[in-house]
Symmetry: D2
Subunit: 431 residues, 4 copies
């Protein structure tokens, strides 16, 4: 969502410092025009003490909620004990623990053999390093991405991102990428056939790519969930042409769709996986790039960065892994996802004129409002009623639901109630 | 420094987790083959309890030392009180406080009028956003960078980075940049004349650039300090051709050279400034991009990112500003810088066959060892003696000194003593 | 077709000069291993006096046959009279006459209002200038091209060319182009829907293009003829999104498909048209770029070149226009085209196991032989029998028929007879 | 020179056809606003029968003058005998003869062992193929070019061209090239040191190039003649770093500077040489790319083009080689060059306020007029007096003299007389 001055409600709070000192590029503070102070679980409070239910979760960064008590305790202990905080890529105890636990709790039980790279603490660092590695290993340059994909704002990641507004921000042509239709992009286009033809046909004009990069559920692109069959086919096509498959699991991963990795139920094994957002569990910057051991052709220091050794993130991320020791958490997310999806479908059925589709997986859900501006208005109305939600899609046409995974049914029901009211109110305004 | 297996000493510590699970791209853990646990001020301790003096400071990220007590206290309080940790670019109290204090303590006293952008929490995010903005404002695409410059590992920043090894990692051609000689690059090349001729000559083959990007002291490039006169001339040439001047003050800023911004004594006013590394003060990821208000042509959300609202960084960074309320800290850094430089020069004078130059500004200093491998060996010997230092320069030919700015004279003297021993020992090995 | 040493028959003629002195890049001399000396109409003779029927016509450059007598006479007169031969883009009488006659004979009767640019004497010059102009006029950079398209070997044209082997020759990434499926590329892909979706969808990852470039019948790409309906739809989509339509009529134009411009029967009016090959009529280098007068935003000399004023080409091209004074020639080409197509279909019907399709328009026809190497073998057998033909398509899978348009029925029948024999003989060899 | 409407004199001749039908990109017809009809030797005549002395020679394409009788006779004979005119890259007798004679008359006597490639009939085809080959052979992408260099208008050649106006015409960023200072570009810049530092320094930000491309005398760039010593040093630097040396001898070659190849007196042996312009001798399109046999890694057809087999050019070019059977022609060119240079210097000495330098080699000479617009005015005055000359240099500040090499002393003296008058007349107008 790109909020404009019209979507703001500036009288509520004195936001003059932001208006005067911060760049015009600021965005969410325009949609949510208040000053936040505290947060716990699925709730936030602003300076005036107003309470908000969080259906946004830091764009998928707070899957375990705000200030999750276990991690909070560990962080405070670590800080208190003068644990080393910044270590570049030196070895530290907290990094060692994270690596061991991640191996034991996540990779091994899923039969995934991956090396772990710390590419810098943000999603776009993970994507840039994945693209570098794929190009290095294959000696090829092109990367296939998909319509509506979103992978980050630095130049390499932006080149594989679909959004025209973001792309234009580059100010120079974005190179090395080819955008192909995502699953269900259009009923008259068989996206798998097109992908395969482009790779196989020596006259296609598409150079054999180093890799295909995709999200299994596109978050920023409008909550588009690829079918498992499509994902499997893409993997097979990649194998056939010796093209690497990169799954950007930055938003859909870490349990958002119900499993730790979003691709698990599709039964695919990407060559490279990017994780960030909820990986630290506490909202502090953190990212990893995972890849098949035989792809680990990096020379020491070939990719580097100042904040690759953010030990507060190691500490919190290690603690967060306790959610994954059994499959209880995973099953709960799926249960809640089903519950919310059913509720959304019910709302949609009541408003077939407003809402064309409910979609998504797990607790990554969206409702499409084709009428221009309506989805934004819904979020604006929701905010007034104490619910934080954002839109996604190239025209901000989708209301996106990303509640913290730890939310209870009471919280969900309350949020869904507000959502329904907001839709009705927004529809009146926009009609 | 790119450590190789030869520079490691693997028997000391069990580093098997790192060797088995972490990518081959890991680097510093090979130069410093131990597992760190704690750190305070200018000291670190490893798992075996060995103490190390830190002349590295997280590559300039820990100017105020490890776990600085004031910030530590504030962070623990903030965490304990359930302060909001992750907020994207929503308004928060801690962000508001940072913006106000940064304005009051840093910008206003220096008569600098800049808008503040939070481009994501790492240096390369700041550089990428600076390049985007320069291209947007001017409608031009080329950016002039300098030999030996280092600006980051994502594709846009890498294009303005000089190091061939890092550049090659991109796997695709780096576009939109032209590399010109930095100050004192070669005595037969007048770098200012070349810059000006390239801009003025309609047949130069160099398209009129959007911006010139530079570090006033090149950290990774080998501690090359531009003269103030050169910086002034570059600024004037930029003004003459309506080209924006970007100072990447990520390593040299935040007091490293003795003033908050490294460019202050040169009496220039860049159009855009990138800060990161020591900006949070505590080693947690943080970065800002500063620019002249009239350049603030960003549309809301045109550049975004998940970790733009890292409130632990706001909290620590605000506290760190207390070092800048008077000029006492600045004077102390300069005093220590002079002291260390004199000591290094004395060492260099004793070893004219080994050391060709002592250079740098403030506490950002380097000694050049032209003999291949010698500078690496010096650092390796230093590590064995409990001193952490790294090399820089395209051939790792410069021993780089970046002690925390808060280090006391005792710490400096002890470190310098180890350095001198290490040089002697290394020289014997390498000769 | 990329001939290899296996397709040669080196004993026939002493070709040692070519083998020793000319680069390995030479190609057709390997398929047709003899030394040609004379040519007239649709026949060639080699040094040994062997006669060949020409079903190749210089890849569509000799639509009026070799050494057409009217042009021959004019050229000899012009040379004899010391007419100016080389004039850059100065005004000359022969250029004036060409411009006037082209206007009167070609443009006006077709209600086409185009400015004429002389971009250099080859097709790729015309394409490069068309791309430059489209980018200049629109201020956009991307150009949409199509699978199997062929537009030339210089870097700009190569970027819009589909053939992987040719593209790889560039040695650097080809930028500024997006390749989309041509008409009938695949039955599961609605190429018009995809084109439109890519332009309309702000999240498609395809930047709004400056232009769409296409051939109405793809010559090198395998004699793929777009339907008139498809061409009309492409034109309409271009209009809708304010994207320029460039028709590269270099091979299909100048009467090859039965009308002067190949796009006439589709009733479209491209914004820019590229002509070359048969434009001079005599096989001498010549090209023009035509465009809507309001697009003529060129500054004087913004595109230039040494051989823009090749007056022998002006003289011959002016004379060639006499073929277009009435529609008799056009009707004859269509009649012969129908005749040949019917004959080919008859052959194909006899060999359904070998030949999967007969396709093309006018005298630009092809037969597809899916079996690897078979089409090459057919041409090789034909050559031995005195018929010159080449293959096309990304895998050289199509036998391509481009006889001179002036060929008589006797010549056609003789050539078709040889073709049939050659197919039978080749099929035996390859099976 | 970029003529504008102000430099035209439109009343003289009815040029309405050109104004109405030809694109605004036309250029020389604005400087020389008349319609040419005939030409012989060093003279041209327009429609009104006015005679002009040619000091332009088709920008160096007519070294042997217009309609040279020997070639004229051969061309007429060839046409009359139905010699094959267009042959793609099939073998023909006329091509064989050219290859043999070129080998015997040009390459062998100079101890040059080169394979010959026919890359298409224009200079830019030769340059594009040279760049492709250099990139293929080395596997590198960057090419070093020089300030003020001119290599052609297609995208690959334009990337190594210095002129900002021409470069901007590309409409997309030009990639794969780095522009370095040419010899004597500026007295404070040692261009050889800079080139060497850029190649040797692993932190220079300039990727190790595939090749260096240069003209020994820059024609379009302002008649800048590199010293032999500089050329030798560039060659040695290239050898040292295994970088290929490409000499673009399109304008300076074919005898223009007094030897067949312009680089002969510098005693260098380029790895790749581009020839065009005067190569056919008669002003018809023709070009070759020459390279060391071991570089001939082309696959058949990897670079192609319709007009690679322009047999009229083979015929004329073969005949033109008779000028090179002895060194008499070469000596004459040098004698005339000295004569003209002395005369120009004398004129310059008379007008030290107008003319800052006389420069060039052989019959490729220039006079620099720093005053804006003066050089254009000189050419305009010369035209009125019956002398055809153009300007060069990025600001059209150099009057360029390129008389046909066959001109006699009478013609030279007459032209020089007009030039002197024109300078005086122009100086009055512009002052």
């Amino acid at each position: 969502m790109i909020p404009t001055s019209e979507t703001m409600d500036p009288e509520k709070t004195d936001m003059s410092v932001f208006e005067e000192v911060e760049s015009e590029v600021r965005s969410y503070c325009r949609s949510f025009p208040t000053i936040f102070e505290k947060a716990k679980g699925y709730k936030l409070w602003d300076r005036q003490g107003r309470e908000y239910i969080d259906f946004f979760a830091g764009a998928g960064t707070l899957n375990y909620g705000h200030n999750e008590s276990g991690m909070q305790k560990r962080l405070i202990e670590y800080l208190t004990s003068d644990g080393i905080v910044h270590s570049l890529d030196m070895a530290t105890s907290s990094k060692e623990e994270f690596l061991s636990r991640f191996q034991d709790v996540i990779l091994k039980p899923r039969n995934l053999e991956y090396k772990v790279m710390f590419p810098g603490p943000t999603g776009t660092n993970a994507v840039e390093s994945a693209l570098k590695l794929a190009r290095k290993v294959t000696g090829r340059q092109t990367v296939v991405s998909f319509t509506r994909g979103f992978h980050g704002m630095t130049l390499g990641s932006l080149a594989v991102t679909g959004n025209a507004f973001k792309r234009k921000g580059a100010g120079i042509p974005l190179t090395g990428a080819v955008s192909l239709p995502y699953d269900q992009y259009n009923e008259n286009i068989d996206s798998l056939t097109l992908l395969e033809r482009y790779l196989e046909d020596k006259g296609s004009g598409v150079d054999l790519p180093a890799a295909v990069i995709l999200e299994t559920v596109q978050g920023e692109g409008g909550i588009n969930a690829a079918s498992f069959e499509w994902l499997k086919q893409v993997e097979q096509i990649c194998r056939r042409y010796d093209v690497l498959l990169i799954v950007d699991d930055i938003q859909a991963g870490c349990g958002r769709t119900g499993t730790f990795f979003s691709f698990e139920p599709a039964e695919i094994q990407p060559d490279i996986v990017c994780l960030s957002k909820s990986l630290s569990g506490y909202g502090v910057p953190f990212a990893v790039t995972l890849f098949r051991p035989d792809l680990d052709t990096w020379a020491p220091g070939e990719h580097n960065g100042t904040f690759r050794g953010h030990n507060l993130a190691f500490v919190a991320a290690t603690e967060a892994l306790r959610f994954w020791e059994t499959d209880a958490f995973s099953r709960e997310v799926q249960r809640k996802g089903d519950r919310v999806k059913a509720a959304l479908q019910k709302i949609a059925d009541k408003h077939p004129d407003l809402i064309t589709q409910v979609r998504g997986r797990g607790l990554m859900l969206g409702m499409e409002f084709p009428k221009e501006g309506l989805a934004d208005e819904v979020c604006s109305e929701a905010f007034k009623r104490g619910l934080i939600m954002e839109t996604s899609g190239p025209n901000s046409e989708v209301v996106k639901l990303l509640p913290p995974l730890i939310i209870d049914d009471e919280g969900l029901d309350k949020g869904l109630g507000i959502l329904e009211e907001s839709i009705e109110s927004a529809a009146k305004k926009i009609s």
